[in-house]
């Protein structure tokens, strides 16, 4: 479904990603793990068109490489960025509506789904996004992404700042979303949980893929254990 070949990306003159090759099949959950500054977020930004890149990215046989970010969203590739990026002077409800900017027909249905997942958002419908707590904003960001009816869901550290209870809720939700037919590319520092729910995973180190395999394989890989799981 998503095929990335020879991807190079960076900021200005600084190259961060080199020669990345990744593919995702429909219905998969794929994790990308790596230490801080390895380039995980950069990879997601390149896919969703926030930053320019060279190489080829094809999604459902269409090239995304030259498309602008908003065109990529139209194709169903939805990115929940790290750092939440909430519309801070809009209410929670308006934030969610902006998520559904492109697929207004499924709006009510999607909204129900989001409210069921994160009841606090329904409760705080009228609060300004910027005044929500860190974790609440994270929920809002995920909810807002869901409002766009993604086909491919790019999640950047969705559990960041969430309580253990909600971390579980989110991982369960990712599974459920995936079950409903959405392909997921997941970047997480919570390596254990993310690999556990993933079909496959990649390990990225200073901008290159150094390891790949099924979730199970990676979890049992001694290097992964040492580097990310603290074992």
């Amino acid at each position: 479904m998503l095929k990335i070949e020879n991807l190079q990306a960076g900021y200005g003159e600084m190259v961060v990603l080199r020669n990345i090759n990744i593919s995702l099949s429909e219905g998969e959950i794929v994790s990308v793990v790596g230490s801080n500054g390895a380039g995980k977020s950069t990879l997601l930004k390149a896919i969703s068109g926030i930053i320019r890149s060279s190489g080829t990215i094809t999604f459902n046989h269409h090239s995304l490489t030259a498309l602008q970010a908003h065109r990529i969203v139209e194709r169903g590739v939805v990115h929940v960025p790290e750092g939440r990026k909430i519309f801070s002077e809009m209410t929670v409800f308006e934030n969610l509506m902006m998520g559904g900017f492109l697929c207004q027909k499924d709006r009510t249905e999607n909204l129900e789904r989001v409210y069921a997942l994160f009841p606090i958002l329904a409760e705080r419908r009228k609060q300004l996004g910027g005044t929500m707590s860190g974790g609440e904003q994270q929920m809002l960001a995920i909810g807002r992404g869901l409002m766009a009816s993604p086909k491919l869901f790019l999640l950047d550290e969705p559990s960041l700042g969430l309580s253990p209870l909600f971390t579980d809720v989110v991982f369960k939700a990712i599974r459920a979303i995936n079950k409903s037919g959405v392909t997921v590319l997941l970047v997480e520092q919570n390596v254990y949980q993310s690999l556990k729910i993933s079909h496959r995973g990649y390990v990225i180190e200073t901008g290159s893929i150094v390891l790949s395999g099924t979730g199970e394989e990676l979890l049992n890989n001694p290097e992964v254990k040492k580097a990310f799981l603290g074992m």
């Binding site: 900021y11 600084m14 793990v33 230490s35 801080n36 500054g37 390895a38 977020s41 790290e82 750092g83 606090i120 609060q127 005044t131 929500m132 707590s133 860190g134 974790g135 609440e136 994270q138 929920m139 550290e157 960041l160 700042g161 969430l162 309580s163 253990p164 209870l165 909600f166 971390t167 579980d168 809720v169 520092q189 919570n190 390596v191 254990y192 040492k226 580097a227 990310f228 799981l229 603290g230 074992m231």
Partner: protein
Amino acid sequence: MSEPILKINKVSKHFGGNIAVSDVTFAVEKNRIFGLIGPNGAGKTTLFNCMTGFVPITSGEVIFNNRKINNLRPDAVCRIGMVRTWQRVKPLSSLSVLDNVMVGAFAITGSAGAARKIAVEKLAQVGLADYSAKLAGSLSIGLKKKLELARVLATRPEMLLLDEICGGLNHTETASILQLIRDVREEGTTILFIEHDMKAVTSICERIVVLNSGVKLAEGTPAEITSNPEVIAAYLGGGFDA
């Protein structure tokens, strides 16, 4: 039991009709690592904001070193020895990583040379030495968290308020940061620690307060907290196995 350095006395904070913190009372003893946990939106960050003068307290008092500091400005709070990090990181984006930490170090020295020395040392401690010349704004999120830590350490605080400093770090990196925090404690700093990573919290904190919807739910040792059924229901859920 040693003298408490920080006393939170019936502190409340309302935002319009929204009660973020309600009548919270607890005390932190000198030279302890004290945990502050609770579900999202429980009021932890708000409590930090109240203590450091970023938002006015609705009622109650904050006492630091036997001094009431309710109405102190943020910079004054820092100068009497209490420094916080930001959950939503606030790098000084177009300054270099080194300069960021030097700004922290200037709290204890007037000389640029001395500040630079302290900064270099702290950057090495948190593992950012290789990044000193980079612009702070260009760091990845995990690295920015480390920068936050280095910057407050450079102020040599008497008390450190850490807001999810390990968020965005993996287990291995978290472990090294935790070790660093222990070292800092050894040097005489008291630490109040907000974190959702329960493994980290239980492994490092000697005492923990749990907030829920702005109210103090429980207080105790890690063992007491993790076995408290109310805490499990409100916060930990079934997924946690310590």
